[in-house]
């Protein structure tokens, strides 16, 4: 490939922006076109369930770069025009408005979209939370409800997004219930020790927990508005507003017919390459993590940026595999939680610093003598220091002598 390949990036959010920036940082001076479905320039999603939902930040504050900085990147931004198809052989991206954008390399950065419950789209008062528009709609409904005495919110889904949004809504004074099939919030991800502490925190702050019960559906008031959430037990939880936070699905529908392999994400090799000249980055990418020896797809903000660095490198001919230590954070009530690595529910979890009773501690997750992850609860710096143990577990096998050093 030439030293200045023409690059087409599909998706104008965290991963897409970071790819452009990493290309330029690495000296790429060729043409770059970014195609984005949303009408907005790149903005940040983590604040949507935190500061934006809480009203602490105006939505504009989520903007990731000023217009001047974006201009300085010298890329062409085609916004509000979703890509509809990709031909990997000619590396042509077709868009909804009829454009055909051709590149030497195409980077797929289309992220993920929320999963939904059957029938929810038809009902007023039922929300998902992924975009700025989603956050504005949810916040408006919550404020409206609180004002008019219809402030009962049910959050469906006890994963990280559901737990976090429930905490933020409770902070706004809403009558908030969190429902889901696990026994404690984030149990599948963090296990019973940390999940139990999260449950305690939510309960103390006044969130009602209806966990260990699957959701069967959403009840209609008859007038097109939500009336409640139906549980598997046959019970109905009354609700004025419902947030459905039951996970996200990688945005790969537009790749149908491209011949590329899609399996819970666009499938890539260790260099985030899906086919010759086609790469994936961010929430949409499933790539082979050489340190773990298996494929992985991460939905977190840091990965979007780190993987972009690897993809930009790969586009420019750098042959290092992408093998990061995953990193995720979440803020719930006063707790700032940081997770390095990939803890799992069945790992042996042990408090190694601080104490849960003091609201500041570090938990280490081990399996045999391998540290799968560490979690800091109001101890970010200390958690970062424990990260070293995790790094060993994620390191790829040493490179063959003579090839570039991984790092």
């Amino acid at each position: 490939m030439s030293a200045s390949p023409r690059v087409v990036v599909v998706g104008a959010s965290a991963a897409g922006l970071a790819t452009v920036e990493a290309l330029r940082r690495k000296g790429h001076a060729g043409a770059v076109t970014v195609v984005g479905a949303e009408p907005y320039g790149p903005y940040d999603r983590p604040p949507l369930s935190k500061q934006v939902l809480a009203g602490a930040w105006p939505p504009e504050r989520t903007r990731l770069r000023t217009p001047e900085v974006l201009d300085g990147l010298g890329a062409e931004w085609v916004l509000g025009d979703p890509a509809t198809a990709l031909d990997p052989l000619s590396r042509t991206v077709a868009t909804a408005s009829g454009r055909a954008v051709v590149g030497d390399a195409v980077v797929v950065a289309t992220g993920a979209r929320p999963r939904t419950l059957p029938g929810q789209e038809r009902l007023k008062g039922v929300h998902v939370l992924r975009t700025l528009d989603d956050a504005a709609a949810l916040r408006a409904d919550l404020l409206d409800g609180a004002r008019s005495g219809r402030g009962r919110l049910v959050v469906v889904g006890e994963g990280v997004l559901g737990a976090e949004a429930a905490a933020t809504a409770r902070g706004l004074g809403l009558d908030t219930t969190l429902v889901g099939p696990q026994r404690v919030p984030m149990e599948a991800q963090l296990g019973p020790l940390v999940g139990g502490l999260l449950a305690d925190l939510h309960r103390t702050e006044g969130v009602r927990l209806r966990l260990g019960t699957a959701v069967a559906g959403i009840a209609d008031s008859g007038s097109g508005r939500v009336r409640g959430v139906l549980l598997d037990t046959g019970e109905e939880l009354p609700a004025d507003t419902v947030l459905v936070a039951v996970g996200a699905r990688p945005e790969t529908d537009w790749l149908e017919g491209s011949g590329l392999e899609v399996s819970d994400g666009l499938v890539c090799d260790a260099h985030c390459r899906a086919a010759e000249g086609v790469y994936a980055v961010g929430d949409v990418a499933r790539w082979h993590h050489e340190g773990l020896g298996r494929s992985l797809r991460l939905e977190n903000r840091t990965n979007a940026v780190e993987q972009a660095g690897a993809v930009a490198g790969a586009v420019l001919g750098d042959e290092r595999p992408y093998a990061p230590v995953p990193y995720l954070w979440t803020d719930q009530f006063g707790a700032k939680i940081q997770i390095h690595g990939l803890p799992s529910a069945s790992a042996e979890a042990e408090v190694v610093e601080g104490a849960p009773g003091d609201g500041r501690f570090v938990v280490r997750f081990r399996r045999g003598n391998r540290t799968e992850g560490v979690l800091g609860w109001n101890m970010p710096k200390q958690a970062r220091q424990w990260r070293r143990e995790v790094s060993d577990a994620f390191a790829p096998p040493p490179p063959v002598p003579g090839s570039p050093v991984a790092g």
Partner: protein, 66 residues
């Protein structure tokens, strides 16, 4: 080069302190970024630019001309 950090935006991710430990540190109690050197020498500029772009909270601003 002149660096400014927005403590209010910082989520304590610590990416900056991993990439440019001579320039950024984190407060012990909440992990918020501590700017050790607002005008670091040439040899740190690459790492500082990378920190600013990688920072998940877009909390680091670099003024190249100052």
């Amino acid at each position: 080069m002149k660096i400014t950090v927005d403590e209010d935006k910082c989520c304590g991710a610590g990416q900056c302190a991993l990439i440019a430990p001579e320039v950024f540190d984190q407060r012990d109690e909440d992990g918020v970024v501590v700017l050790l050197d607002a005008a670091p020498g040439e040899e740190h500029h690459g790492a500082v630019r990378e920190s600013a772009q990688v920072c998940p909270a877009a909390a680091i601003t670099v003024d190249e001309d100052a």
